[in-house]
Amino acid sequence: MDYATLLQIFDSTLRLATPLLLACLAGLFSERAGIFDIGLEGKILAAAFMSAAVAAVSGSVWLGLFAGIGASLALSALHGVASITFRGNQLISGVAINFLAAGLAVLVAQSWFGQGGRTPALIGAGRFEELALPFAESLRAVPVLGPFYADVISGHSILVYVALLCVPMTWYVLFRTRFGLRLRAVGENPAAVDTAGVSVVGLRFAAVGICGLLCGIAGAYLSTGLNAGFVKDMSAGRGFIALAALIFAKWRPWYALGACLLFGLFGALESRPDVIEAVLGFKVQAQLLSALPYIMTVVILAGFVGKAVPPRAGGEPYVKER
């Protein structure tokens, strides 16, 4: 395998990891605040549809992005009302949101565009353009690092860089700010936060809101960056892989980057069986590669390789003592 192929694989790894990373960080905020969210998938899908639909009609991808975030936030609000306000079961609410998004997206797409549940293909300003980072071409001559910079780091849509920036930002917000400390506390021991006079409900809604925002960007990237338009069920389990990555990363931002890049690499390799065979010397079934993130997560969860301990108050609605 030559260096050019390797760069190609790294390039698609980064592309495929981006929606995972955004959704993974989204889940990180929510679960760190004690709200389980298995509705990441639905939020990504809703945002993907809304972004593509608005971008197709208005011709502006930025309007599309905002619309996608709006759709995702609406579902987040629903999750919040069900699981925080009415103290419903967070897992059931998440399941409902996944189906709601899957059904509504197709229904509305059919009603608006009449193309069998998809949006028209996006062209021109309807998609996020690929940005060339400064000096990408002039540095290409530098051996090894030059092509890496020009082909892998440079040449992605802006949302890829936004996703990467979200990692240090998430770390900073969660571990270096007062808000972050309280948010983590509310996921571990909400009663203590309540005693300190801070609103548990407010903090949890804030966390669920951030989760909606990030899922919105993930969905928008899926339909306007990675692809050119929305098709039925295009999230294809990414929300669940993000959930797997979150557990894999043990609810930590930097680890999340690593887990998402790893799962992105699996995705990139899935379409290049020739490369795997060249490197390993034997054939690996594509089906095994697509199942690998889930298998690894089960192994991690089972504590065979380092234990993943979720936030202690996760999944429990908070009831004030009277």
Binding site: L91, G103, L104, G117, A244, Y294
Partner: protein, 364 residues
Amino acid sequence: MQAMPKWADIVLIPLINLLLAFLISGLVILAIGEDPVEAVSLMIDGALGSSYGWGFTLYYATNFIFTGLAVAVAFHAALFNIGGEGQAALGGLGVALVCLMLPWPHWTIALVAASFGAALFGALWAIVPAYLQAKRGSHIVITTIMFNFIAASLLNYVLVNLLRPAGQMDPASAKFPEPTHLPTISDILNGIGIPFAERTPANVTLIIALLACVAVYFLIWRTRFGYQLRAFGKSEQAAQYAGISSVKIIMITMAISGGLAGLMAINNVMGEAERLVLNSVEGAGFIGIAVALMGRSHPFGVLLASILFGFLYQGGAELALWTSIPRDLVIVIQALVILFTGALDGMVRAPVERMFLSFKKREG
């Protein structure tokens, strides 16, 4: 103190939840520019207006009874088995292996063997997450979700590489041999002189599904294990204090739950498709969640809810045929039923409870 009478808990609240879900579904139909009244009448006509429609409605209902019972049994032990989809897929593999590997003289014997195969494979696929929950403390919801995806990949591999006959393009097993074909409801009814539309998929599995409902009722309310299971579901600590082993409860409950989900395969794989295809479950595992929630985890409730969802499925297919409303409407309705009967239950319950309390005060 009981805040409200039992009938309100069992009948009134689910009814209000369901009405809310249907009301919003109606608004959705209005919002996409269609007429909800016409849609409903088309659905009723298509799903219940003829024996042809019933033949499909009952076929879908049979699937949902199995997956609904699977979720319901686990719910009683406070376990959320979201992996019915994967367990039913593995059940399909069990059925296919039984039907293809051995020569069967008659469908009755094949049915018994295939039922064992389906239940065994489904149960095995549920036992792994159960073990991990019981012994290693990993959350059963997450592991069962992961196992759904692993099952999909596994089946993809098995169908493409192992079970696909040479020279065939689509990833599916060979057709099952003639003696394993199950008689349909129409075969049975026409045989005793009652006219019923032919070429409908509802088959003899329906009877097994009804028996499963009865069996689950006895298991949960009439056996020692059922009592332990419910005690465990109410309070794990209290159950442990009473000497009930939580490992045993989790493992056996999940095995039964997975077995029930797996049994669905005798309906869709053996009874209808008569071969194993990719994605044979088609989301029925997830509908089991809606069915169990709506049926309040009681076998009779599950039966009623399954027929309702069978109606929605067949009605939705008719709707897609005659109008421009896609079949995905059913998924929206399913989502709203899960939302209102599951997650937003407290929203309805609190005001109703308050209403009953104010009645009581006036009387007292």
